[in-house]
């Protein structure tokens, strides 16, 4: 409708179990300690690009506005540098909360369309699960091939530079015995994250 959207949130938009579910994830238990001081947003080097500042993400999560936080860019812009966690006066595991939200967004398929980070995460996850190791350049090619093949072509110069400095390798790294890792992972299951069935 001409791109017109309601900007005021209704109480009925809330999911009343959501904050409890996130707080049940280890590292996220202090979510409700937040005093909304905004130190996290001020500390975050990437908040200048975020649609919701970290402070807002914390408050919306606590209040149960699940759709808002699972579909925002913010959680995918968090590079998990932990700067906010070290400064938070209420000892909230903000980075862990961002991880919990990312996992939930992945599981429910709610991440913003066109956002490349979740696509990369999925490619990375599959590679490690199958081979036990990743090959950086193969990973980048495989990811850009899926998400942004035009950019892959634009990176030819970087590829050439890497070749001339002998750092360009397409060797497919793998563990000698990936089965040993797979048997460990086969019995570990996450209540919050995990691949969508």
């Amino acid at each position: 409708m001409y791109g017109i959207k309601r900007h005021i949130r209704y109480d009925s938009d809330r999911d009343n179990n959501f904050s409890d579910e996130i707080m049940a994830v280890p590292g996220c238990e202090n979510l409700d300690h937040c005093i909304q001081c905004g130190t996290c947003s001020g500390t975050c080097p990437l908040s200048i690009y975020m649609d919701l500042t970290p402070r807002k993400v914390i408050n919306l999560t606590r209040a149960g506005f699940k759709d808002d936080v699972l579909s925002c860019h913010t959680i995918w812009l968090c590079s998990s540098c932990y700067a906010c966690v070290c400064q938070c006066p209420r000892e909230i595991g903000i980075t862990d909360i961002m991880y919990a939200l990312k996992q939930r967004a992945m599981r429910e398929g709610k991440y913003p369309k066109g956002m490349p980070t979740p696509v990369l995460a999925r490619v990375f996850y599959n590679t490690v699960s199958n081979r036990g190791r990743i090959s950086e350049i193969r990973l980048v090619i495989s990811f850009l091939g899926r998400a942004h093949w035009q950019r892959l072509i634009g990176m030819w110069k970087i590829g050439l530079n890497l070749m001339s400095s002998k750092r360009f390798s397409l060797k497919a790294e793998r563990m000698d015995r990936p089965g040993e890792l797979q048997s460990v992972l086969s019995v570990i299951n996450s209540p919050n994250g995990g691949v969508r069935k």
Binding site: C81, V85, P178, V184, N189, G193
Partner: protein, 296 residues
């Protein structure tokens, strides 16, 4: 001195200069390094975004492999290091969660009790070897070379085990021990945003550009890192970064172990200066003042 060694994917790939120089420096200092057999990827931030429990399982497996050997585990990559420490901490704090992971390890005949210590090479060189011993080995001091020690995010956050997370000194001390002159600048532990340069270049390049500009403004001739991802990010994307920050001039970016290897008098095979897109040797030749004969 003996350590187990977790290289991680980067040190076997684009960060091989870091691996080679790290191993060479250890050899020169009589440190025995044993690579873990059949190690797996640490999972980095990407795996953690999909499944945190399995991510914990990945790192716990590496820790269990190290525990079986009874030696401290050295992880030169800051991302691997941070994740290994995070896993160790999580397994302590959340026993219930730990039990599920331990059940997985048990299935593969592995045991984890939390005994293994995870160490960064900066920690090993500063605290186990000691600066005096490093100084003794110096044959080519880097006198006159102004450098920016860059620690990045994960070496000291969120758990700092060996240095001050607000204003770290360990890399600066090491660089001073080999004759270099570290410049002071306030962004030593600010995130370089390496995880975004591939996915969101406009974001990643802006973050890296801010760092490089600041380091140059403070007089640095070269950037020194303790993480292969920071190293790659700050060096390889300089050309596109310069389009956003025209005031930036090309500046070499190396791992701290490469400069130590050079100061120890080791050759190109160990220093790996040719594995760079911005020439390293040229800056060293221009800036380092030759030692007067008989001065050392």
């Amino acid at each position: 001195m003996k350590y187990s060694y977790f290289p991680g994917c980067s040190l076997k790939g684009t960060g091989k200069a870091y691996e080679k120089s790290f191993l060479a420096v250890c050899k020169a200092l009589n440190i025995e390094i044993n690579e873990l057999d059949n190690w797996n990827c640490c999972g980095a931030t990407a795996y953690m975004s999909v499944d945190e429990m399995k991510a914990l399982g990945l790192s716990a497996r590496n820790l269990a492999l190290a525990e079986a050997r009874g030696l401290d585990l050295v992880a030169p990559c800051a991302a691997c290091y941070g994740i290994l420490i995070h896993t160790w901490d999580d397994m302590e704090k959340y026993p219930q969660r730990g039990d599920q992971v331990k059940a997985g390890l048990d299935k593969a005949g592995l045991k984890y009790t939390g005994k293994v210590k995870v160490r960064h090479p900066l920690d090993v060189l500063c605290n186990d070897v000691g600066l005096d011993k490093i100084k003794e080995k110096v044959k080519r001091p880097l006198t006159g070379l102004k450098l920016a020690s860059y620690y990045g995010c994960r070496i000291l956050r969120p758990i700092a085990t060996f240095d001050n997370p607000e204003n770290p000194r360990s890399m600066d001390d090491l660089m001073e021990a080999i004759g270099g002159t570290p410049v002071e600048y306030p962004l030593k532990t600010k995130c370089c945003s390496a995880s975004h340069t591939g996915t969101l270049p406009e974001v990643g390049q802006q973050m890296s550009g801010i760092l490089i500009r600041e380091m140059e403004k403070r007089g640095a001739d070269i950037i020194v890192t303790g993480c292969p991802l920071c190293q790659f990010n700050l060096e390889v994307f300089q050309e596109p970064i310069r389009k956003r920050f025209p005031e930036i001039r090309p500046i070499p970016v190396v791992s701290f172990t490469q400069l130590i290897a050079y100061a120890f008098g080791l050759g190109e095979n160990e220093c790996c200066f040719k594995n760079h897109t911005v020439p390293v040797q040229k800056v060293i030749d221009e800036k380092v003042k030759p030692v007067a004969a008989g001065a050392r």
